[in-house]
Amino acid sequence: MKRKRIPTWILLLAFWMTGPQIHAEGRMFSAGINLLSLLDLGTFEADLGMGLSRHTSVHVKGIYNPFIWKNTGNDLRHKQLTWSLQGRYWPWYQFAGWYVGGKVQHSLYNRSGWKNPQVQEGRAFGLGAEIGYNWMLNKHLNLEFAAGCWGGYDRHHTYATGCCGRLIEQDKGLFFQPDRFIIGLQYIF
């Protein structure tokens, strides 16, 4: 799989969000991980968020999985590099209670091994929605539950195997699918 560079503007945005504004008076930030995603063949999912107002916050999320799990049969892999930029609306208060979110997401993926040894590799870009709930455990820690879906444009190749496999298929088009199920921890500061 080709390694893609993370676009510079995302890095700048992350720097802006995590830079000197961290301790700006009244503004809250969050950093969280999705524990449930670890069950997805060790996918690491993290996000950083920043509260904009009482009811709104913006989040940047990254999902990374470089692993290939060797199996007696097929190799299992759900390699991906996904980033998304999400805005959330909190009916009560930021980082507390229910929220609904909308996001724009880009994903590079390489997966195989679930049904057959064929490897599907591709890129997807689209929009998504999410709904979740944050339960406050203490002053800084939240337990987050969420579910989301997304849809957009996808282009992928399908190979016969994971290593030097024959190209079987090449496809592109629109898609819509459930996206994430989150049970995670958020650190608020």
Partner: protein
């Protein structure tokens, strides 16, 4: 297999026992309905043990009927040997218990203690029942339901308590602490996290968001259904009224003493007591008992010992009478003409005219004369005031003379019209009347004289007015001038020089321009100047009536000045024993007096003196022996010393 056999055996035994108990209860209820098991009332008295031969079985038959070999019926009876050696048949009768149904009770200090017993037979009591007895007191036209007596079976009580326990558990499950209806931990975390950002938030908003809505809804549902749950769980609630006694049911006949203090009323002679009851099971009425036979309490009072005597007071009636009235009639300056439009003249004149008409119509008095005294204020010359006062007096005299003449003429006309009408009616009916019908109280039209009297300048009145006027600053100087032995005009000149003359002129002088009317009257048909009559002392009569009405405080207040037997009775009714004793000791000996004195001594624990007076009393009036049974103080003495037999 074995297990199922044992289980089915146990079930059938349980079913049998349950059926047996419910049948027994049904049978008991039938007995109650038939009247075989009834509660009843009795008077509270000491238990009397009857002489009874316990060696013999009271149920054993003395007489047995048998048939001999020929089929003839033979009576075999118990026989005893008499003094002649003869065998005589005897039969032992079962003792008969006679229960009194009435009692004499004495009223003391306005109250009567009614004591009685409620007997509950064993056959009426059941563990699953509650029997409620309601004593009913009929007093004159009123019915009082006394506090009930409950006899509660153990099963009934257990079910009752279980129901209340379940209900209390339900009550305890209702959350009353509002903090438990919120996510307190979340509120604390939220406040901790956002302590710098809460300026836009209201406390109520935070509380409302973190309410546990489901729990609140469920809690409110419980609160709304409190009554329903109570009715569901507590089938046999406690009575919602004061209860005299709540006692457990037993296997034997029980007797419950009851005491009720009744406040006496006027003319209260007796009170009838009835007993009604109900049998309840599981909160529903099984049976309502019919009303029992009455117990009668005859109420005696010391007030009935009062003397029915009448006192008289002497009254002196004089033939002549005088009534006065003052009118403020204004005249124009220098004028003696009566102007009805001036100030209050119209109302003042009308008032005087009404007085005259009332006196003319009075059935008791006749007018002899009317003295009109008119006065003037001191301003102006004395001679002028003198003439003016006289003319004004004449003017008023003429006015009222004319009024009286007009009034008399009007009455005469009314009289004539009444006579004509009567004759006309009688003519039409063709029934001649014996004498004409005259209007009442006007059959003699009075004639009286008018006397005119004047006080030109009423300096005495001015003096009184000045003395009572607190707003005058030179009061002493003014009084000096008024009292000075000077001519009126000179005094007036000196007054004019005073600072307070303005007030005198504006306020006090008008009060001096008055006309006084003195009506000299005499009683119709009375020739003597004075008449001495006796009439009934209404105060004494009111005191006696208050005694009968049981208003002892009022009776004593009215009778205290008389210091006689009735006063003593009022004192005794209020337990003022020493006062009663001191009064009675001053009275002449009599049956009632000695009886009351004996009662007083008995109350004061002076037995010797009480007995002495009691013996004297019975000697003078033997009928009071029967009265003695009605008063506990006397009846105790009579019983202790056997005075009934002597």
């Amino acid at each position: 297999m074995k297990y199922s056999t044992i289980t089915s055996f146990r079930c059938s035994v349980f079913l049998f026992l349950w059926l047996a108990s419910s049948c027994a209860t049904q049978r008991k209820l039938e007995l109650v309905r038939q009247g075989s098991a009834d509660a009843h009332l009795s008077l509270l008295q000491e238990e009397r043990t009857l002489a009874f031969n316990h060696t013999e079985d009271p149920k054993a038959q003395d007489t047995i009927r048998v048939k001999d070999l020929s089929g003839k019926e033979v009576f075999l009876m118990r026989a005893v040997q008499d003094e002649d050696g003869e065998m005589i048949a005897s039969e032992v009768l079962e003792p008969a218990v006679i229960t009194a149904t009435f009692r004499n009770v004495a009223e003391r200090l306005g109250v009567v203690d009614l004591q009685f017993c409620i007997h509950v037979p064993a056959s009426l009591q059941d563990p699953s029942w509650q029997i409620r007895f309601y004593p009913k007191l009929c007093v004159q036209n009123d019915t009082l339901i006394l506090d009930p007596v409950l006899v509660t079976g153990s099963d009934y009580r257990q079910r009752q308590l279980r129901g209340y326990e379940a209900y209390e558990e339900f009550l305890r499950s209702i959350i009353t602490d509002s903090s438990q209806l919120r996510y307190q931990a979340l509120i604390a975390h939220f406040l901790d996290r956002n302590e710098n950002n809460l300026q836009d938030l209201r406390w109520e908003e935070i509380l409302r968001y973190y309410e546990r809505r489901g729990l609140i809804f469920y809690n409110n549902l419980k609160i709304q259904n409190l009554d329903n749950y109570f009715q569901y769980k507590v089938k046999a609630p406690y009575l919602n009224c004061p209860i005299y006694l709540d006692t457990p049911a037993t296997d034997s006949t029980t007797t419950h003493a009851y005491q009720y203090t009744l406040r006496t009323r006027p003319r209260l002679r007796k009170a009838d007591l009835y007993l009604t009851g109900e049998i309840w099971k599981d909160g529903s009425l099984l049976y309502a008992m019919p009303q029992s036979d009455p117990l009668t309490f005859y109420i005696s009072s010391l007030a009935t010992l009062q003397e029915d005597r009448t006192r008289y007071v002497q009254r002196i009636v004089e033939r002549k009478a005088l009534t006065k009235t003052i009118a403020y009639i204004d005249f124009a300056q220098g004028s003696a003409r009566i102007d009805t439009c001036l100030h209050e003249n119209a109302s003042e004149l009308a008032r005087i005219e009404n007085n005259i008409v009332e006196l003319l119509s009075n059935k008791t008095f006749l007018i002899d004369s009317l003295v009109i005294t008119s006065t003037c204020s001191p301003e102006g010359r004395y001679s002028l005031n003198q003439r003016l006062a006289h003319e004004r007096g004449k003017s008023l005299q003429h006015h009222f003379q004319q009024f009286v003449n007009d009034q008399m003429a009007k009455w005469e006309e009314e009289q004539k019209q009444t006579l004509c009408l009567d004759w006309t009616v009688n003519d039409s009916l063709q029934t001649p009347t014996a004498s004409p019908i005259l209007p009442p109280a006007r059959d003699s039209l009075p004639a009286f004289s008018f006397i005119n009297h004047t006080i030109p300048e009423d300096w005495d009145r001015l003096k009184v007015l000045v003395q009572h006027d607190s707003l005058l600053q030179q009061r002493e100087e003014l009084l000096q001038i008024i009292n000075a032995p000077l001519a009126p005009d000179l005094k007036e000149n000196q007054l004019r020089r005073q600072q307070d003359f303005g007030r005198l002129y504006r306020v006090l002088f008008p009060l001096m321009r008055t006309v006084r009317f003195d009506f000299h009257l005499h009683r119709r048909g009375m020739v003597k100047d004075t008449l001495h009559t006796t009439e009934i002392d209404t105060l004494y009569e009111a005191g006696k009536a208050a005694l009968l009405e049981r208003d002892f405080e009022k009776a004593l207040t009215l009778l205290r000045p008389y210091q006689d037997l009735n006063t003593a009775v009022a004192c005794l009714c209020l337990d003022y024993n020493h006062t009663a004793k001191s009064i009675l000791q001053t009275l002449r000996p009599s049956g009632k007096r000695d009886y009351l004195l004996a009662l007083t001594h008995a109350r004061l624990n002076e037995r010797q003196e009480a007995l002495q007076h009691l013996v004297h009393c019975f000697e003078m009036d033997p009928s009071l022996k029967f009265r003695g049974n009605l008063d506990p103080e006397i009846s105790q003495l009579m019983q202790a010393f056997n005075l009934n037999e002597q």
